[in-house]
């Protein structure tokens, strides 16, 4: 279904336009053609605003310091010396920070998908007695703001019951990914949309709840898992505040913390810093290039509201 709707969008003539506010018969009218042109123009400008800052930073990274502050300013650098990338890569030992970020991502992916997914499944399908309370509480926590960062930080300094100090380890960030109300609801709504008849049939064949989850729900859930995975990967890669508080000044600092610390450091020049910034963005662009087509499809089937 998802594949089909993606294909359906690939139209480029007004005569094929059957969806949306304006259809093919409206598009014959001249005033709607103007409206359409205006909308196109606005979207085009907006797409430029979305692209230009990043591209500019990427280009400026290749400039020399004197080029950066030259009057009159130039857009393109005089030369593209890709050796510079290797230079800064080594200078800041980017590989270490990349590795740390990957460690964070692996754990967060696991907790985010397994724990939130299971919860969404139970709330949607199994509905044990009293799970409605849990569902309401989860929905509320999506809208509730936390009370400063202190109580949570205290929790990690001295975890209740087991009294362990988790500051300086990846675990707090992993745990936080496992209590994501938004994703629980995303999963729940997705599972709600799966036809009940599968469940009936599986029950008749003597399938257990867990077996049903593994053999029927999981294969069907690929689109929503993809969406949550992309959110989780990009979110964790850019997660700054908590990793800064928990992993800051340890050997486990991820890339986002490194970016912030470099921004206030005197040991790096502006152009090198811009290159570092681009290096840190590129992995996400690659992830996006691979998975982008899943994002829209997954959201259509699992939208939290509406």
């Amino acid at each position: 279904m998802v594949e089909k709707s993606v294909k359906e969008k690939r139209i480029s003539r007004f005569s094929d336009k059957t969806s949306g506010l304006l259809n093919f018969s409206d598009m014959k009218k001249i005033r709607f053609k103007f409206l359409y042109a205006a909308m196109f123009l606005i979207m085009f400008i907006i797409s430029l605003v979305c692209l230009v800052p990043t591209v500019w930073v990427g280009l400026s990274g290749f400039k020399t310091v004197s080029e950066m502050y030259a009057v009159p300013p130039t857009l393109l650098p005089k030369s593209f010396d890709f050796g510079k990338i290797i230079e800064v890569w080594k200078k800041v030992s980017v590989a270490r920070y990349f590795g740390n970020s990957v460690m964070l991502i692996i754990g967060c992916l696991a907790t985010d998908i397994i724990i939130n997914g299971l919860t969404g499944y139970v709330l949607s399908r199994l509905k044990p007695m009293g799970s409605k309370i849990m569902e309401t509480a989860v929905f509320w926590s999506m809208l509730l703001p936390g009370i400063s960062m202190v109580p949570l930080y205290m929790t990690f300094v001295d975890v209740p019951l087991i009294h362990v100090n988790l500051i300086g380890s990846y675990a707090p960030i992993w745990f936080m990914a496992g209590a994501n109300a938004f994703n629980v609801l995303l999963f729940r709504n997705f599972f709600n949309s799966i036809s009940m008849s599968y469940l009936e049939a599986a029950r008749l064949d003597g399938c257990t709840d867990i077996g049903f989850f593994g053999r029927i729900i999981l294969p069907l859930s690929k689109p929503i898992i993809m969406v949550v995975a992309i959110f989780s990967i990009t979110g964790t890669w850019g997660n700054f505040m908590w990793p800064y508080l928990i992993l800051g000044n340890t050997a486990k600092e991820p890339i986002a913390v490194m970016l912030y610390k470099l921004s206030t450091s005197k040991n790096i020049q502006d152009n090198e810093y811009m290159l570092i910034m681009m290096i840190s963005i590129i992995p996400m662009i690659i992830v996006y290039a691979f998975f982008s087509k899943h994002i829209i499809g997954g959201l259509t089937v699992g939208g939290v509201k509406g």
Binding site: K9, S12, D16, G20, L21, N23, D26, F40, I42, M43, S47, C50, L51, P53, S60, M68, Y69, V71, P73, I115, L118, Y121, L126, K127, P128, S131, M134, S141, P145, G146, I147, S148, V150, P151, L152, T155, G178, A179, D209, I210, G238, N239, F240, M241, L245, I255, L259, S263, M277, S280, I281, M284, V287, Y288, S292, I295, I296, L299, G303, G306
Partner: protein, 299 residues
């Protein structure tokens, strides 16, 4: 006989419930540990004097009065409201309008989808730092570079106390714009086409179709996004911290950043908790309003 069946039924119900709750345990533990318990702890400890993280003496509302009478509190509250105001002006309508427009386009729709989503995959910390460079004073910044070609001499951007909040909001909106847009877009795709056809047959023009078909469908989602955005921006911390550090002269200081400074710069955890409770209560009102409105919309 019937007794036996009953017993089997009961035991299967118990088994079903038990396996359901067993699967919920990890999630329950994490939600209690990370979301719900900290709220309760925060509220209780905010009435204590803390030494490190241990409460040593019950002080009633002293922490609260300390926070409220701080000379900067009113200014910070005003700034925070300004953040929310600007984010509603700049960041709220734009993704919705763009989603509606994108849904109409048949030319280059794929290109627009990809380009508008690109800022979303850029980490928010990198966004702040990129925009700090865009706003950079002197000829090196992108905005001043553009001004140069328009024949205008370079200006200070983030160092201008009247502009700093809207400028930070522009950077934030730029970062989140695409993800909100795509959610609206997905929801727009779910509108039943027959409703449009019916409206068209009734002679409804462009704006009436928006009013009678599109908006009613999107109302619930718009409300949810609105509340989430207000709550999110009210807590803004990271962006002023990384872009301005609260400056110039506290002009971009938010409640969230004050809170962060109390806790992790000055070590005044009790004051941080009190301020946290104050913001929490303000936003709780908003959450209640949301549930009230949401009920009305669903009906």
């Amino acid at each position: 006989m019937s007794d036996k069946i009953n017993k089997r039924k009961i035991s299967s119900i118990i088994k079903h419930n038990a396996s359901g709750w067993a699967l919920l345990i990890p999630s329950l533990i994490l939600f209690v540990m990370i979301v719900w318990r900290p709220i309760l702890i925060g509220i209780t400890y905010s009435t204590f004097r803390l030494q490190g993280f241990t409460p040593v003496e019950f002080v009633g509302l002293k922490n609260f009065s300390d926070v409220l009478t701080d000379t900067n509190f009113i200014q910070t509250l005003k700034n925070t409201v300004a953040y929310v105001f600007w984010s509603l002006v700049i960041g709220f309508p734009l993704p919705f309008i763009c989603a509606v427009m994108l849904n109409e386009l048949v030319h280059m729709q794929g290109y627009f989808k990809v380009t508008t989503y690109l800022p979303v995959i850029i980490p928010s910390i990198a966004t702040c730092l990129i925009w700090r460079l865009v706003y950079m004073d002197g000829e090196g910044g992108l905005l001043n570079m553009m001004l140069y070609y328009l024949g205008i001499s370079p200006m200070g951007w983030l160092s201008n106390k009247n502009m700093v909040i809207p400028l930070i909001i522009v950077a934030m909106s730029w970062n989140t714009f695409g993800s909100t847009l795509i959610m609206y877009f997905a929801s727009l795709q779910g509108i039943n086409q027959e409703l449009y056809e019916a409206a068209r047959l009734d002679g409804a023009g462009f704006f009436n179709r928006i009013r009678f078909v599109l908006l009613p469908h999107m109302k619930g989602m718009l409300l949810l996004m609105l509340i989430r955005q207000i709550i999110g921006v009210f807590n803004v911390t990271e962006q002023p911290l990384t872009m301005t550090g609260g400056g110039p002269n506290n002009a971009s200081m938010s409640l969230g950043l004050t809170n962060y400074f109390y806790a992790f710069k000055y070590g005044q955890y009790d004051k941080s908790l009190a301020l946290g409770v104050i913001t929490f209560l303000m936003l709780l009102v908003l959450t209640f309003i949301y549930f009230g409105l949401d009920k009305r919309i669903e009906e």
